[in-house]
């Protein structure tokens, strides 16, 4: 007789338990492929321990999403009468059981359509209108995963899983859909900007593997403080936090800020993303991945790395030079990093300096990268001790002051990087106005 429940030991969350039906999904070909996709692309070139994969992250998100769901909806007395009235129809034993399952599966499957090497240059490597979330949705809707979902009794509707798994913000870019308030709440449990299971897991997991302490906070305290409440702004149901857990939320937002600045946007890691993109553009047909999920499921990091190895071992290979940049660690060096004081004096400084650098050193010797600014100043609702609901920005001076994450980098080929580093300071001085231009132009 086969086991009803299975468990695996996860380094971040301890034992992750799943049943026979979920095991079918975990063992499916699209899910197993995620074992071969690095969670943090080539970050292992900077942090050697960061070799973990999307598979373990997916298990972690399933586990974390379940804990949040149970905290919110398996303890019905925690809900206020007004909240309960709104969602009572979804909280019968049968409906709650169904939605709990959907949330677990959304956590498990949310990354199933990831490209090789995760996020690295996804926008440039997929046809217009596609992102990995859309491919994940197609895999959930049309692959063997859909068959497994429908085989369950009662069947799980793949579209329900898609609605909860697909970050509504990313979805709006390619397939806008209006979710019901209930589904919006569930979507927030998995994908939410502040308390989403995806974020909670990746911060903890990535920092653990990278061996840095920036990403740590207390997830149990955070989850125990989560609550469903009524948004005083418009009267809609929303995910919020009890005041007692506010310091853990502060820790999470600071963790995110530091993980972004120290790990995800480490300048050398970003240089490797660029080199990886350039290699893939040369290696892939027409320079892009196919958006057909069946084609993408045939590719993982392994195939890309094998191609790269082939190219570096043959100095006549058309992609030899591109492979050298990555595998021989001849990566571009940082010659300029945007600072806010420069941007405030000349908002276009990064592009202007990049143009001058390419003019001087050649377009093939210079590269740039930018992200943001993206604020970590998260505005969410907090239930205070007397039962009032207030903005997190009012309640927490820390949350109101977490700086936005922004990077702007210019890189140079190692052949010219030393010269370029000497050239940058003087050029920046020439580009920046001596006195603030705005005073001269003030009307």
């Amino acid at each position: 007789m086969s086991k009803q429940f299975h468990e695996v030991k996860d380094g971040v969350h301890g034992f992750v338990v799943f049943d026979q039906f979920e095991k079918l999904l975990i063992d499916s070909s699209p899910m197993q492929r995620l074992r071969c996709i690095h969670q943090l692309a080539m970050s292992y070139q900077v942090y050697p321990g960061a070799v973990h994969n999307r598979f373990e992250h997916s298990l972690g998100v399933m586990e974390m999403a379940t804990r949040i769901f149970d905290r919110l909806f398996n303890q019905r007395p925690q809900l206020s009468d007004e909240v309960r009235d709104r969602i009572d129809a979804e909280l019968t034993d049968e409906r709650r059981g169904y939605w709990r399952r959907v949330v677990r599966l959304a956590g498990l499957l949310h990354d199933v359509g990831h490209l090789p090497f995760s996020h690295a240059a996804e926008k440039e490597l997929l046809p217009e209108g596609w992102n990995h979330e859309r491919i994940s949705a197609d895999v959930i809707r049309f692959s063997e995963i859909a068959d497994i979902l429908k085989s369950q009794k009662p069947p799980i509707e793949p579209e329900d899983v898609v609605d909860v798994a697909w970050d509504i913000k990313k979805r709006s870019e390619v397939e806008p859909k209006t979710l019901s308030p209930w589904t919006t709440l569930l979507n927030e449990i998995v994908c939410g900007n502040t308390f989403g299971a995806d974020r909670i897991d990746y911060l903890l997991r990535d920092s653990w593997h990278a061996g840095v302490v920036y990403g740590r906070f207390d997830p149990d305290r955070l989850v125990s403080g989560l609550t469903a409440l009524i948004d005083p702004g418009n009267g809609e149901i929303a995910l919020g936090l009890d005041i007692g857990a506010i310091h853990t939320a502060e820790a999470l937002l600071l963790a995110r800020y530091f993980m972004y600045t120290q790990v995800y946007f480490h300048d050398v890691r970003r240089a490797y993303d660029i080199h990886l993109k350039n290699f893939l553009q040369g290696w892939l047909k027409d320079g892009k991945f196919s958006a057909q999920w069946q084609e993408l499921m045939k590719l993982s990091d392994h195939e890309v790395l094998a191609a790269m190895r082939e190219a570096i071992l043959d100095d006549k290979h058309r992609l030899h030079d591109r492979a050298v940049l990555t595998l021989a660690r001849r990566h571009f060096r940082t010659i300029y990093e945007l600072v806010s004081t420069h941007k405030k004096k000349r908002p276009t400084i990064l592009n202007d300096l990049f143009d001058k650098a390419t003019e001087k050193f050649g377009a093939d010797k210079i590269a740039r990268d930018s992200y943001g600014p993206k604020s970590e100043m998260n505005d969410f609702w907090v239930k205070t001790e007397n039962g009032d609901v207030e903005s997190s920005l009012q309640v927490s001076g820390v949350i109101a002051r977490v700086p936005p994450v922004e990077i702007g980098l210019i890189f140079a080929h190692p052949d010219v990087s030393e010269e370029a580093k000497k050239w940058v300071p003087q050029t920046v001085r020439e580009l920046l106005p001596k006195k603030r231009a705005r005073k001269e132009s003030k009307k």
Partner: protein
């Protein structure tokens, strides 16, 4: 850095301030959504129906850019509702790099006068009703109210009908 987008945001913030609004992010979002519906201006932002009605993630991104170099300042609202936006010391930089046609500026002024200092709940109802009418092509009042109530169950049918009546009158004024 997209000054063609930022100049719309700046014009809306300036006009909302002139109309005595506390100028939250919701006001800016709804004003730009209504600008499209009201004056048929090809506003350079994508909108989706989101938690508080029509919403643009592009606007959020540009607001962050503008804040980063001082074209706007963003401060927590003293009343505890989100943040308030104000023009910053580098606002002129936007005007130096992009400008709007006079007709668009006039339309923005009309929209911001309508949006003014309405609260988030009102703006959600009005902008969503406008969305249903202009984007979904539903104009029969009862049908619009039903649709709005289905999208936003916390908005009663009566409130939805009132919102549609008000927005229809304004859109055709």
């Amino acid at each position: 850095m997209n000054f063609k987008k930022q100049v719309y945001i700046l014009a809306v913030v300036e006009s909302l301030q002139a109309n005595g609004s506390w100028t939250g992010k919701t006001h800016v979002n709804k004003a730009l959504s209504l600008l499209r519906d009201y004056a048929k201006v090809d506003v350079p932002f994508n909108f989706v129906l989101y938690k508080h009605g029509p919403y643009s993630f592009d606007i959020e991104a540009e607001l962050e850019q503008m804040q980063s170099y001082g074209a706007l300042t963003v401060d927590p609202d003293a009343q505890g509702f989100g943040v308030t936006l104000q023009t910053g010391e580098m606002a002129d930089f936007v005007h130096e790099n992009a400008e709007l046609p006079a007709a668009t500026v006039k339309a923005i002024e009309n929209v911001c006068s309508f949006v003014g200092s309405r609260n988030v709940a009102e703006l959600e109802r009005l902008a969503t009703a406008s969305w249903i009418r202009t984007r979904e092509g539903i104009s029969e009042p009862k049908q619009v109210a039903k649709r709005l109530n289905r999208l936003k169950p916390h908005v009663s049918l009566e409130e939805a009908e009132q919102a549609y009546s008000e927005i229809s009158t304004w859109l055709t004024s």
